[in-house]
């Protein structure tokens, strides 16, 4: 398992004003699995991502990331985990405007102490894999939304993380670019075997996943399996077009 949570609970505040954002939540995500998290605003999905990503600490319960229990790590180790084991993809891309595609993608490696030349080489490799061979030296303002998000995905992959966490990755894209990006995320899980955890409110985007987890008021209220064996192979299902 890449992600495992046990009784995960997060309470903000104290006493009368305490808010339970997550309530004894149990979730597991395996390598090569693409899981979508859906739920109304306030259901706890952002809190869940923050706890799994080590950006916040649980009030109760435990989180394991690639076998490491996060509550046992100090801040330094936690930061290291985050840098090496997780790649983040955000709704608004979060690229650095003054850096080129290569420089943006190489950044996590540079921050980790990797030599400039090696970091650039790895970044170029990943940028080519996500289809940006022709845009390597361009800056974000010269790229379309979809291209910017591809840079972000390459950046998320350069440290060879076990997990990719995407928070509304298509929220800022038109429907064509959105399909390309979620298709790429599917490729990341199915072909490159990372665990991918994606928060989305868009059913068409969630439908690319292997599994959809529905959150409400801090707990999982339902889970739907979309693919047969969870390894990314879609079943060929006969769909009756019921409206005709």
């Amino acid at each position: 398992m890449i992600i495992q949570t046990e009784n995960l609970t997060k309470i903000y505040g104290r006493g009368e004003t305490a808010v339970t954002a997550l309530h004894h939540l149990n979730l597991s995500v395996d390598a090569g699995e693409f899981v979508a998290i859906m739920g109304p605003s306030g259901c706890g999905k952002s809190t869940l991502l923050h706890l799994i990503g080590g950006l916040d600490r649980a009030t109760e319960g435990r989180v394991w990331l690639d076998g490491h229990e996060l509550s046992k790590l100090d801040d330094t180790r936690l930061t290291e985990m985050r840098r090496r084991k997780i790649g983040f993809v955000f709704q608004f891309f979060n690229l650095i405007p003054v850096l080129t595609a290569i420089e943006n993608a190489a950044l996590p490696l540079i921050l980790d102490g990797v030599k400039q030349a090696e970091a650039r080489a790895t970044a170029i490799e990943w940028l080519k894999r996500v289809g940006l061979a022709g845009q390597l030296t361009q800056r974000p303002d010269q790229l379309s939304g979809g291209q910017q998000q591809r840079v972000a995905i390459a950046r998320a992959l350069v440290t060879e993380p076990a997990l990719i966490m995407a928070d509304e990755p298509t929220g800022n894209l038109d429907s064509r670019a959105a399909d390309e990006i979620v298709g790429l995320l599917r490729h990341v899980s199915a072909e490159w075997r990372r665990a991918v955890l994606m928060v989305t409110h868009d059913p068409r985007i969630a439908a690319y996943a292997d599994r959809i987890v529905f959150l409400k008021d801090g707990t999982i209220i339902d889970e739907t399996r979309l693919t047969g064996d969870g390894t990314g192979e879609a079943e060929r299902v006969r769909v009756k077009v019921a409206t005709l």
């Binding site: 068409r204 969630a206 439908a207 060929r236 299902v237 769909v239 409206t243």
Partner: protein
Amino acid sequence: MSVRFALLGLLAQRPRHGYELHAAFEAVMGGEVNWDVKPAQIYSTLARLQESGHIVEEIDGTDGEGADRRVYAITEKGQTDLVAWFNTPVTREHQRDEVFAKLMLAIATDVAKPRHVLQIQRARLYQDLHALTVQRSKVDPQKDLAHILLLDSAVMHIEADLRWLDMVDARLDEIKRQPLPEPEMRPRGRPKKIVDS
């Protein structure tokens, strides 16, 4: 949808054999995966169209063994009705909604939980959406855009259904608190005679 007008349309293009009509119908409607029509249904529809004078059977030469090759051809009546079909908007019966019926009856009886009805429907819609998405990703928009548009229609209807389910879910407690729709019972039997006192 009745298959008859699609067949008339195909015959308006040119006369065809029965088995060719079956294949052509499925090809136009997005392939077998989207509309798997039984040959028997095609043939019984053709029989009815013949009976009603919309098509005629003609001999189109002979086959390799000397037997007559029969094709169907559209008649003038068929042509007129086909044009009328093109000029009439399609009616969709949105309000004949089985999910709605299940929901109301789940609330009225104690056989199932309404929320469970919504959940299983939602799960099925997502599975269908996934299958459509997979199918769509395999179609080449440069060569088969029509097929993509057909799938897009299905996708958009499913998205609408999911939105409705979310809306119902959010207001389910409210619905349960309101009285169930009951019919107005009118008094039965002969009206009483009004006698002046």
